[in-house]
Symmetry: C3
Subunit: 150 residues, 3 copies
């Protein structure tokens, strides 16, 4: 069902992104899937680097976080079929920000809206969005996801 | 029982704060309630904005985080009665900080002490407190909470 | 078994670090153990303070995060025997960073590699690594851990 929905949305899951270090893309525990922090990698390159500064930057960051959600789903696919995922529980949204950038919530909508679009009602989730001074490889955004296996 | 304790403490839960974006205030999964990041909103206005700079700022930040905990309980009330909450599992405390502000743990006590005051022994929790350069809407603090349904 | 492995690695768990405030070192819920954010305390002193700036700093930060993982295991030991821990579920790695420091993932390997060394295959985990402007007591790193009781 989720795989059909991905087709309808013309989303092709990439291979699960290779971890940068001594960890794995996702781990099951207690009926949940904890997905490692995902960077906005597309075709092996970062879509967006450096800190966000102005409200206008929110849109670019939202597009990058949409890609992070696709990567998170790909990462989860390494430990279960997408169709086994019952719901999206929580997103943690990190946005590289100068002290003036205060629109992390707008940036986060790129991921949140895609979650709802793919999973419907069960894709609506709790979340937190915060600014950070910098992220691995100079990425502008990073996304953590908890899925539920139901 | 929790509702009685709130009365004793003269705490009136506000309506669950409206999400700023495409998400919900709280989500149940695996016997836990994951609450979305709460800002120090009181009567629809932020109690405290901008980064914390000096040790003296810790007290204002603690008062704001106390309010965030009240808002988190209000958010959880959207998915269960406060009396169904068995314990406070974890707090994630985010404090907008200049690089010189290193008292995030003092700020966090505003939330931690209220959790214990409301829930007694089962209100004592694990937590992490970190600095961030900026938060949504220029809020000075943000709080994530995980409750347990027991 | 985990206690034997710690002996083989010459790791002596310190007493669970005293919380800086109104919280506890670790809390059980839903088959998981949530460990409070651990600082790189060794013999009651911080091993590393201030923000990381250059790629070379990653090694010092990795050594400090290795110590944080030892402290996290000590913290978990307050609520269960180390031998009851089935797996390492997730690490959240916070590195005090200037905006130029973009190697939080390298720093995090200090904790990730020790987790695998102690717990073997079940020590491999999901994780997220982010930069922060500052941390409690001017610590350079902080580590959150979720263990599973299986």
């Amino acid at each position: 069902m989720i795989q059909e929905r991905l087709k309808e949305l013309d989303i092709i899951l990439p291979p699960a992104p290779a971890p940068l270090a001594a960890y794995i893309p996702a781990k099951k525990a207690g009926g949940l899937i904890f997905v490692s922090g995902q960077l906005p990698l597309k075709d092996r390159a970062l879509m967006l680097t450096g800190p966000m500064k102005t409200e206008e930057d929110s849109e670019k960051a939202a597009a990058a976080l949409r890609q992070c959600f696709i990567n998170a789903l790909a990462a989860a696919s390494g430990v279960c079929s997408p169709d086994e995922i019952k719901s999206v529980v929580k997103l943690n949204i990190y946005v590289a920000s100068t002290p003036e950038f205060i629109w992390q919530h707008k940036a986060g909508n790129g991921a949140s809206e895609l979650a709802r679009s793919i999973f419907g009602d069960s894709g609506v989730h709790a979340r937190a969005a915060i600014g950070v001074p910098s992220l691995p490889l100079n990425a502008s955004v990073e996304l953590e996801v908890i899925f539920s296996l139901g």
